[in-house]
Amino acid sequence: MNTFNFIQAAISHNLKDPHSKALEPDGLSPLLAIATQSSGARGLIFLFVLLTFVLFHVSVSYSASKTFKDEVGREVVVLFPPKKIVSLAPNITEILFSLGLDQEIVGVSIHCNFPEKVQSKVRVGSYISLDFEKIVSLKPDLIIATGAGNTRDMVERLERLGFPTYVIFPKNVEDVIRSVGHLSQLVGREKEGVEIIQEMKRRRERVVERTQGLPRPRVFLQIGEAPVVTVGKNSFADDLIRLAGGDNVAGNEKEMYPRFGMEEILKRSPEVILISSMNPGGNYQKALQEWSRWKTIPAVKNGRIHLIDSDLIDRPSPRIIEGLEEMARLLHPERFKR
């Protein structure tokens, strides 16, 4: 508040009547002194009040903190809007970039790979190991972590070092949309956030509409090779499969990433097999070959084995909608022509 006083005093000092004797450099006295002068000063008073009002709000919003509640229920007090942000996971990085931030992002995890602009960013560690020194030297106003990957110990350590840390924890597509909203508020880009959310919702609705009433093919999504791991009830991919008009054969499994033996897969007889891959362009022949032994599976018999980009279906960022669309295309090709 000292700034405020000073500005006020400086303005009043400049507005004062040089011949008036009632000059005091502190507080409201100059104001009173002016107010008691001739009525021509009333216009000046109005301007003065307006000016201080504006300045007050500006200085307040530049030096005040805001309290937020993050997605795991923690209270986070942030200097608002945050000007130096560190992201600890790839999905967070994507969301921040999509909200139009770039310069504000001062640190990312080593796993972050999208968009291109992220290549030049400073890396601050991985899911299991943070480079605390780097983070300290970057002096961020805000750190954003994910509940699915960063550990609680890490977050506590960051808090103890004095960095407000906001944790998001989206578990399905709807959650991702909400997280985008939360983060947009957190970084002061609400307008951009709203746009993204609307776009995501629109495209999601489109997919759901188009696949309404269609028979749901049984889908097996493979995310691990040895052992074979698929996606269970609370995973993202399961949500996507459902939204894309499919029926996840592992959809009732309580584990998020259950391991399936071949017997189990044969029993469930999937009609489409999707393979989550870091390199969706290649490896196709290899994948085909591995599954070709099991010709009793309808998906194998009918050649409905497809690779799908893991970044799109496993990363809770706006691009998950792309994953959804891709999946819908693969499950219901007749409805989604390229």
Binding site: I110, E133, V136, D153, R157, R160, L161, E255, M256
Partner: protein, 356 residues
């Protein structure tokens, strides 16, 4: 005897260990430790001028305010110093308990983990992680400490026969319990989800990145007490190496010594492992290396192992966090990578143990 007035100097031809030698060598090793510590504090993924690091450190010790930005102070005092201190304490703890186990079991292959203490700690930690208790501030170290305590009791119970501790029975019990717990650990790993898996594996590899002063305040008095207790019996450890009957006829209360050494060394190991996970090699190589250079006398072996172990682990941790910055190599990898070849070098130039 008319020679009471002779000084030890007259007997220097005997080349035995004297207090003076112990103090001299300890001072020398202590100096190395201090150098390693200071060097480690100046190194890290963020560049801080060495003279500034040292002045920040000195000022904080002497209670002055002064040079160094907030950032630098945070890096040095909140990140590097606790880490280095904890690594030093754990290195000392593991080395001393390794030496004690080698004496207790009269086996050169013994290390602090041989009696299952580490497996018990791991099980405790994994259970805590799987139950989500890793969220409590001291949940993880406490759970792993409890796990190791239970293991210590179980092995102790099985290692006794007719009220006496039999080293070979103890060893067997320890190895069996350890293997069983390893199987349990593998079971837990097989049912874990991705994130839990990562956390568990990382804990198992040993990690100092979350070091803090609280942890240090907790284990320092504990380790110090255990060390002093064990050191008070250093001469008796020498005797027990020739055999229990031999030690007994020389007046040593062998059962009490075995109990003290077992509990003391196990608790030291448990405390160390609970704080930072499993770090291998230190407890095995350091005592052997010290023995090869300075001899098997425990009056020197114990303090020397503590000092060398501390330096070694601090150096390993520092290398781990600076070699491939920002990626951190687990400290266990460094101890194996550097410790192993060094030990082989020692083996070739001197003899470790002629017979088992």
């Amino acid at each position: 005897m008319t020679n009471d007035h002779c000084s030890l100097f007259n007997y220097s031809f005997m080349k035995i260990l004297t207090l003076k030698k112990v103090l001299l060598i300890s001072a020398f090793l202590g100096l190395i430790l201090v150098l390693v510590t200071i060097l480690s504090i100046t190194m890290g993924s963020v560049k801080v001028e060495p003279h500034r690091s040292i002045s920040i450190l000195l000022q904080s010790i002497l209670g002055l305010k002064g040079a160094g930005t907030e950032t630098e102070k945070t890096i040095i005092l909140s990140l590097r110093v606790p880490r280095v201190l904890l690594a030093g304490l754990v290195g000392a703890g593991l080395s001393v308990s390794g030496a004690i186990f080698q004496a207790l079991l009269r086996n050169p292959l013994a290390d602090p983990y041989i009696l299952g203490v580490s497996s018990g700690a791991a099980v405790g930690a994994i259970v805590a992680i799987l139950m989500g208790l890793g969220t409590l501030s001291f949940g993880l170290p406490l759970a792993s400490f409890i796990g190791s305590l239970l293991t210590i009791l179980i092995v102790f119970y099985f290692g006794r026969q007719e009220g006496k501790i039999h080293p070979n029975t103890l060893l067997l019990a320890g190895v069996i319990v350890s293997s069983s717990l390893s199987a349990l650990i593998m079971f837990f790993l097989s049912i874990s989800q991705r994130e839990e898996l990562r956390t568990i594996v990382f804990w198992l590899m040993g990690d100092f990145s979350l070091s803090n002063y609280q942890a240090i305040r907790l284990i320092f008095p504990y380790l110090l007490f255990a060390f002093l207790l064990l050191y008070a019996h250093a001469r008796q450890f020498n005797l027990i190496l020739s055999g229990e009957e031999s030690a007994l006829q020389l007046g040593v209360n062998v059962e009490r010594l075995k109990l003290i050494s077992y509990l003391g060394a196990s608790l030291m190991t448990a405390a160390s492992v609970s704080m930072c996970g499993l770090i291998g090699f230190v407890g095995l190589i350091v005592p052997h290396s010290v023995r090869l250079i300075f001899g098997p006398d425990h009056r020197l072996l114990l303090p020397a192992s503590a000092l060398v172990g501390a330096s070694f682990l601090i150096a390993s941790d520092t290398l781990g966090r600076t070699l491939f910055s920002p990626v951190e190599l687990p400290v266990g990898v460094i101890t194996a990578a550097f410790g192993g070849p060094f030990f082989i070098y020692l083996l070739r130039t001197r003899k470790v143990v002629k017979t088992l």
